[in-house]
Symmetry: C2
């Protein structure tokens, strides 16, 4: 009988595992809460109205249409039963496995302050990104129809919490929306009064990047009009604004770009987890004590040969997925080796910072590299083609293509949709 | 002092009125519940996953970016006060007018059976279309993960109620999704068991079209696999299915493509309305007794020179908008004359029926004409460019580009999202 491989999660880690098993004599079941694979590095572009959801998402069934050993179930995994070797799902029968691959990804962490989520949502899913996009666009509309100058400024203040790549990219993109895209669109308010704050507890933006790139990123952000507040710790967030240890910033638009944590499924394994809830895996990416259970991508805490934790980026997830696929297909269990492809972040249109090994790029050249790499990664021909078309349009016109608020504005705004 | 022109509604009628007044010495206020102009004739393509929302919608602020006499407020008009000459809005101060243009459009009518809306939603807004798209895609996912053959068939039955252009176009598109696009996507269910029903009380599909075209449309639909049930009156709809006078069709996917009615704002005018709630306008499209209040598009019941009611199509709304714009700009009040550009409906990919005066087209030629006319109408360069790109892709690959379910499927399906 064929071995049963159960993969939880259709992100980069999960789909690469499945694809490596294309010609293996196994039965693969892939479980995902959604029906699509999401190109997460571009999610902030959906949140800032540059791309549509369908540009950066591909139906999982389309990806595996020609791989006959994959069965896909759209459901949520509730718990792992390591004795019976089954995973329990919502509204579906449990699925049994010979090999289990946990590629469940990360969700945002509020470090124990879950009440903040309502006022400062994070960006992990398409639903998150669309909600934030509509919220941002709606804020300009609400400012336009208000007659109260305090209220107007509440709507025109934008606060990004956390200055990792997501926070930096969001802040740059919102600055461009406010100071360029929207400049001629409103007649009652002056959109130049928009203020974009980027708050970071660490002493610098992009804390994981090289010092020279951090400095350049800060300069580029400030040139765009972003107010960079490093060394500021967020103390509280409510409907009225964001409170740091030294400042109160009134805003209706706080966006959480700070912490990550793994989902609750991993807890049901009863193996040691790190502080972010990730499985501290063995050298072959298995959960301690379970040679047939792998944790990869953002579900795993993996160390490179120098003992540093591998960052939660797409290239790491892809490499880990391929590695596990090869092992299940019968490959040798040599320790996993991470090949660091570097890191990059865009700062508005035309600018970025990037490093790959000894190579460091800034400005327009880094931005070109960023465009090229992201287009090259996009998983299907369609995504690639349409994203290129939109970007081309965007470059030529300076417009943002997806500034549509889906529903109507008949009620006063709730903190977040 | 400049005359104040207040336009309610940013559809074809409303934006054409405003655009005709570009160089007139007036102050225009345009009110819309949403932030966008919607190309409604292609809304069913969003509902059937061929296009993204932002392909067929353009922000109103973008359309009027360079027209300085237009102010836009995103709000809902509650009532007209003809004595004070103001319109009351939700959450905003009332807006006064010298000229009022009511271009409020239509919503779907359930002929007194409002309870049906929950089980058989209509398609008038982007929100509607996205909801129906996600509901259809979700039904296939729920069928795939079910082990109950009755339940599976519930999910795989699709019922369109009303065989006007929307019903015909929806039925054809869903037949293509089920029998072509999805054919290789599912491993547990046989998507060929999908059944697409098109129910119409009149004796034929497309009742307003020429008899020869109706016959051809029915044949084309049946070739695609659609079960056409004309002469069937819907008696009741619930969570379990659709009941006609002679049949019960179990389904989780009923879609309302039948009646239209104008919105409630018109009632506050206290002028005679027709059965669909539209203002029965004078020859110059004014409301009886109010030479400064115009009703146009789907808000008006207008007769042509032969005494027939002008249909609720985009060309009529555009012509009426331009006519009213010219009058307000100081033009003469000659009676409005409708130029009938004909009617058309697509039946799946590559086929359509169309008539324009004595000219009748069917099959591929009609479909090409349909493509050409719809692309030509799209209001902005962007819409046009991207829609063409997607269609081109669609033609080449037979895929549908936007098969993304935004949120997750962790709960059992409610009748409709």
């Amino acid at each position: 009988m064929q071995q049963k491989v159960l993969i939880i999660g259709g992100g980069f880690a999960g789909i690469n595992t499945a694809q490596k098993l294309k010609n293996a004599p196994v039965e693969i079941t892939l479980i995902d809460r959604t029906n699509h694979h999401l190109f997460q590095p571009l999610l902030y572009q959906v949140a800032t109205a540059a791309l549509s959801s369908s540009d950066i998402a591909t139906p999982l069934r389309e990806i595996f249409r020609d791989q006959e050993n994959v069965r896909i179930i759209m459901s949520e995994a509730l718990s792992v039963d390591t004795e019976k070797q089954v995973v329990n799902l919502t509204y579906c029968d449990p699925v049994s496995y010979d090999y289990l691959v946990l590629a469940t990804g990360a969700k945002h962490s509020y470090f124990g302050n879950e009440a903040w989520e309502k006022f400062a949502p994070g960006i992990k899913t398409l639903e998150d990104a669309q909600g934030i996009r509509e919220h941002i666009l709606r804020s300009f509309e609400l400012a336009e129809r208000s007659h109260n100058r305090f209220e107007i400024q509440h709507y025109l203040n934008f606060v990004m919490i956390g200055a990792g790549p997501t926070g930096v990219e969001m802040a740059g993109a919102i600055a461009e929306i406010a100071y360029k895209t929207m400049l001629k669109d409103f007649t009652q308010i002056d959109v130049k009064k928009s203020r974009i704050y980027l708050i970071e507890a660490a002493p610098d933006v992009l804390p994981t990047f090289e010092p020279a790139l951090r400095q350049r990123a800060r300069e580029d952000l400030e040139k765009l009009g972003v107010i960079v507040l490093t060394g500021h710790k967020v103390v509280d967030i409510n409907d009225d604004g964001v409170l740091t240890d030294t400042l109160f910033i009134p805003t209706k638009n706080a966006i959480w770009c700070a912490g990550n944590e793994a989902g609750p499924l991993l807890k049901t394994l009863n193996v040691p987890l790190d502080r972010q809830g990730r499985v501290i895996v063995e050298e072959d990416l298995t959960a301690p004590g379970f040679p047939n259970i792998f944790a990869i991508g953002d579900a795993a805490s993996v160390k490179d040969k120098k003992g540093r934790i591998i960052p939660g980026v797409a290239p790491a997830a892809i490499q880990e997925g391929c590695y596990v696929g090869k092992i299940i297909a019968g490959g040798k269990r040599k320790p996993f080796k991470y090949f660091d492809k570097g890191s990059m972040a865009t700062i508005g249109l035309y600018k970025a910072v990037a490093s790959a090994g000894p190579l460091k790029l800034t400005g327009f050249l880094a931005w070109l590299a960023w465009c090229f790499i992201h287009i090259a990664y996009l998983v299907t021909f369609r995504g690639r083609f349409l994203v290129m078309a939109q970007w081309l349009f965007w470059l030529i016109s300076g417009k943002r293509g997806s500034r549509i608020i889906t529903d109507s504005l008949t009620e006063d705004a709730t903190p977040h949709p």
